[in-house]
């Protein structure tokens, strides 16, 4: 940062004493956020702390009940999304979907298509030139303008979103949980981009659950709790642990609660399992009471391996053995019958049915137990739901509440509860804490420990390496479809695992 005093630099954004109620419930009570020009400003808080409400107010999607919004020193009364964009403030949302049937070019220029001067025709050449300039310059990637959005990876979709904003030469960019669906290497590219934008004078607001990212990236951080800003600190004077304490107002004595379970018998064995073009010769053994970590970059084959175990893809050769019997599953139904459980990464899309009740979600895979002669045993279902809501401490207004009304962490607990109800024994957890607030994370870690202690075998797939090391016993790293290394979790560090997952020689090529 330059030597200019704060007053000279000035505020890009100043939200002051914002109060916002929804249906009478207080979402923000005198929250303030002051972001200085040309800085990366972190915004953190648990789910429900008011982050998204604050950002929606800034985006002009809601109006504050009380308080002031100043942009570039000027107060604005009624912001609309359109006005906000005119002021040069752009938002990169984690789940703002691009139209999947559009091409990259169409998506980039949607609503502001350049025309050939004096004609109504689109200037395709100009569109192509401007988009490839930005893509090449900032990301070093080539996305063909004619590629369909639906064909892009999550990371590529995000690049399209950011490029769309950059085409407008924004003054402020707001990133809402941008790394939730990215692997580490992709996140690194994003971080370099953010630093570069800051150096170019763009102001960045960065919202994330990942405190290590905040620590690494931000100049200043504002912590929200219960609708108020409890602290705004320069990063030089604080740490991730201190921020976490401010967020939850209590000590997270042990973020990764470790349970010592003596592993029992083998429950799942893979012998030289291969799927053409996806992974090859994967052998591993999972024992009862064991938590096995699995990690790898996009395309490492780890996801495909999990999908094969659950009958969603087929292996071309090799053996899967469960409890001593060969057990290749051809469908999820078969896998479920073999007591496998899958908690998918895309929780809202694949893990829970948002418009069904908590009870209906919990008993979805164990419904046979609650059926007498084809008829549902409602009281049995109620007991089961109440029991699991209590055991997993699922925060809900009741068992009949729609899952849509629950927070991300509690939705995830419902997704897991479904398999507890099924008495599953082998759990495949794909990024189990993505988009989950820190308090619920610890509860989910505890739950994983409990399951292991009861003799379940658990495979956790995660790209959060600190988490992986914290909660697993062993970690297998996949690289280009093969197990490249194995670590004992208690004797390794995120750096070692990261080096292995990028393939040590590859590190140089990508980063250098």
């Amino acid at each position: 940062m330059s030597a200019a005093s704060p007053d000279e630099i000035g505020d890009a954004i100043h939200l002051d004493g914002i109060v916002k109620r929804f249906d009478g419930a207080l979402a923000l009570s005198r929250a303030s956020l002051r972001v200085r020009r040309g800085t990366v400003h972190g915004l953190v808080g648990q789910n429900g702390a008011g982050k998204s409400t604050l950002i929606k107010l800034l985006a002009g999607l809601h109006q504050p009940d009380e308080g002031r919004i100043e942009i570039d020193g000027q107060a604005y009364d009624k912001l609309t999304p359109h006005r906000v964009e005119e002021l040069g403030i752009h938002f990169i949302h984690q789940d703002r979907l691009l139209v999947p049937t559009f091409t990259v070019g169409e998506a980039l220029f949607l609503g502001r298509e350049p025309r050939i001067a004096g004609t109504p025709f689109l200037d395709r050449r100009l569109m192509h030139r401007r988009s490839s300039e930005i893509l090449d310059d900032y990301f070093g990637v080539k996305l063909p303008n004619s590629a369909l959005i639906s064909e892009l990876s999550t990371a590529e979709k995000q690049i399209v979103q950011i490029t769309r904003a950059l085409l407008d030469q924004p003054k402020v960019l707001v990133f809402d949980e941008p790394t939730a669906a990215l692997v580490r290497r992709e996140a690194d590219i994003l971080f370099r981009l953010i630093r570069r934008l800051r150096d170019d004078g763009v102001t960045i607001i960065y919202i994330s659950h990942y405190l290590n990212e905040i620590e690494e990236l931000c100049d200043t951080v504002t912590v929200l709790r219960n609708g108020e800003d409890v602290a705004t600190l320069p990063l030089g004077e604080t740490s991730a642990a201190a921020i976490a304490r401010l967020m939850v107002a209590r000590d997270i004595a042990d973020l990764y609660p470790k349970r010592s379970v003596t592993p029992g018998k083998d429950i799942l064995t893979l012998d030289r399992l291969s799927a053409h073009g996806k992974y090859q010769d994967i052998s591993l053994t999972l024992r009862r009471g064991e938590v096995l970590g699995l990690t790898g970059l996009l395309g490492s084959g780890a996801k495909e391996l999990i999908r094969t175990l659950f009958g969603l893809e087929t292996a071309t050769s090799g053996q899967i053995t469960i409890g001593g019997k060969p057990a290749r599953s051809a469908s999820p139904a078969q896998a479920v019958d073999r007591h496998l459980a899958l908690v998918p990464e895309d929780r809202r899309g694949n893990g829970v049915a948002l418009d069904l009740s908590v009870t209906e979600n919990i008993t979805l895979s164990s419904l046979k137990r609650f059926t007498r002669l084809g008829f549902l045993d409602f009281s049995g279902e109620r007991r089961e739901a109440d029991d699991l809501i209590r055991r997993l401490e699922i925060k809900t207004s009741g068992r009949n509440a729609l899952v849509r009304t629950l927070s991300g962490g509690n939705q995830q607990k419902v997704a897991i509860a479904k398999w507890l109800s099924r008495h599953s024994e082998i759990y495949l957890l794909d990024e189990p804490t993505v988009g989950v607030d820190i308090g619920s994370k610890v509860e989910i870690y505890n739950l994983i420990g409990d399951l292991a202690a009861r003799g379940a075998g658990i495979i956790v797939l995660s790209s959060d390496l600190a988490e992986l090391i914290g909660i697993t016993d062993r970690i297998l790293v996949l690289f280009r479809g093969s197990v490249i290394s194995e670590f004992v979790s208690s004797q390794t560090s995120p750096d070692d695992v990261l080096a292995a997952s990028t393939g040590s020689s590859e590190v140089l090529r990508h980063v250098g």
Binding site: K20, G24, L26, A249, R250, L376
Partner: protein
């Protein structure tokens, strides 16, 4: 988790303050259709005493029986997150199929009824094949089948309506006739009071209500509509569930066709025109019944009856026939506003 309890506290206080008001609002909303129905019944009886006699009430039910039966099928396809646009065409071509079977082939009621039901089920299977196996979007698949059926039903008779003495395309004259036993389905009443078609409607309503609300299969149908992937990952065969839904829908549509054929006694090429719209309207009005906000069989039946009562009453009060579609549309708009318009804004 002390922090979450702290967080929830302001919400809780607030809930207590406006709690009873909200409760009253919810109760009014879920009972709204029943309250309006009672008001209609009361109002029409006051204005026109003949409205309230048993005969008239039964004729209302008889008038809505076909729509209610088709609506029950619509409810099931809506439950799996699908939509069946072909039901009107299935019903219409079932009228033709039943007439053809009896008049041209000379079959009796005992053979005709199962044959026509099997025809409906088969069309349901074709719909399901297109949607589940070939992944054609449901609206497009059933729309094209609707098109196909309304053309198909004209081919065997070269576009003529079917009645006794029909001259076939090859020049011969059909010798069969409607089986009197078949006509009983549309034209008699049990104990002289309850029309057979109303009994059929009640049986369909009870069977489908039990299936959708009380059985495992019903739960899985709704789960498929709620989130197909999550349901499949939970170990259910969503392909089979969707197939079941379209087969039920097709079979019920052909049952509706049988009732119409038995009432009219001839195979009319133009029968069943407004059935699709009316059945879909009944199912959508049903969303508002009991505040369920999702397809439900009870709601669909109530929705069909509601429209029937309204049209019958207005007719008695000499409202012209051409206002009927307007009235139906207005009721539908009101019901949908009730279902969706009062949804609380999403919490932050």
């Amino acid at each position: 988790m002390t922090s979450t309890i702290d967080e929830a506290a302001p919400v809780q206080r607030n809930a207590n303050r406006v709690g009873w008001l909200a409760d009253l609002g919810t109760a009014l909303r879920s009972g709204a259709v029943f309250i309006l129905l009672a008001a209609l019944l009361f109002g029409f009886s006051a204005a026109e005493p003949a409205f309230a006699n048993l005969g008239n009430l039964m004729s209302i039910l008889q008038a809505v029986a076909v729509v209610a039966i088709l609506g029950a099928g619509v409810t099931v396809t809506l439950a799996v997150g699908g939509f069946d646009l072909s039901i009107g065409a299935i019903a219409a071509s079932s009228v033709m199929a039943a007439s053809y079977a009896m008049i041209v082939w000379g079959l009796g009621a005992i053979a005709t009824v199962p044959l026509v039901l099997a025809f409906g089920a088969l069309i349901g299977l074709v719909n399901a094949f297109l949607i589940v196996r070939l992944k054609v979007p449901d609206l497009l698949a059933t729309l094209s089948i609707m098109f196909l059926l309304s053309g198909l039903q004209l081919i065997p008779t070269a576009g003529r309506s079917i009645s006794a003495g029909l001259i076939l395309p090859d020049g011969t004259t059909a010798t069969g006739a409607y089986d009197p036993a078949f006509l009983l389905i549309g034209r008699t009443s049990l104990a002289g009071i309850v029309p057979v078609s109303v009994v059929l409607m009640a049986l369909v309503a009870i069977a489908l209500f039990v299936l959708t609300e009380r059985t495992r299969i019903g739960r899985l149908l709704f789960a498929t509509g709620g989130n197909e992937v999550a349901t499949r990952l939970a170990g259910a065969s969503t392909a089979r569930l969707k197939m079941l839904a379209y087969v039920i829908s097709g079979t019920l549509a052909s049952l509706g066709g049988i009732v119409i054929a038995a009432r009219v006694g001839r195979g009319d090429v133009s029968s069943g025109g407004s059935l699709l719209m009316d059945a879909v309207a009944a199912a959508l009005i049903g969303f508002a019944v009991l505040g369920k906000r999702r397809p439900n069989v009870l709601g669909t039946i109530v929705g069909a009856v509601f429209i029937g009562v309204l049209l019958n009453g207005l007719t008695m009060l000499n409202a012209p026939y051409y206002t009927q579609d307007f009235v139906k549309g207005a009721v539908l708009v009101g019901a949908l506003a009730l279902t969706y318009g009062t949804v609380r804004s999403p919490s932050p």
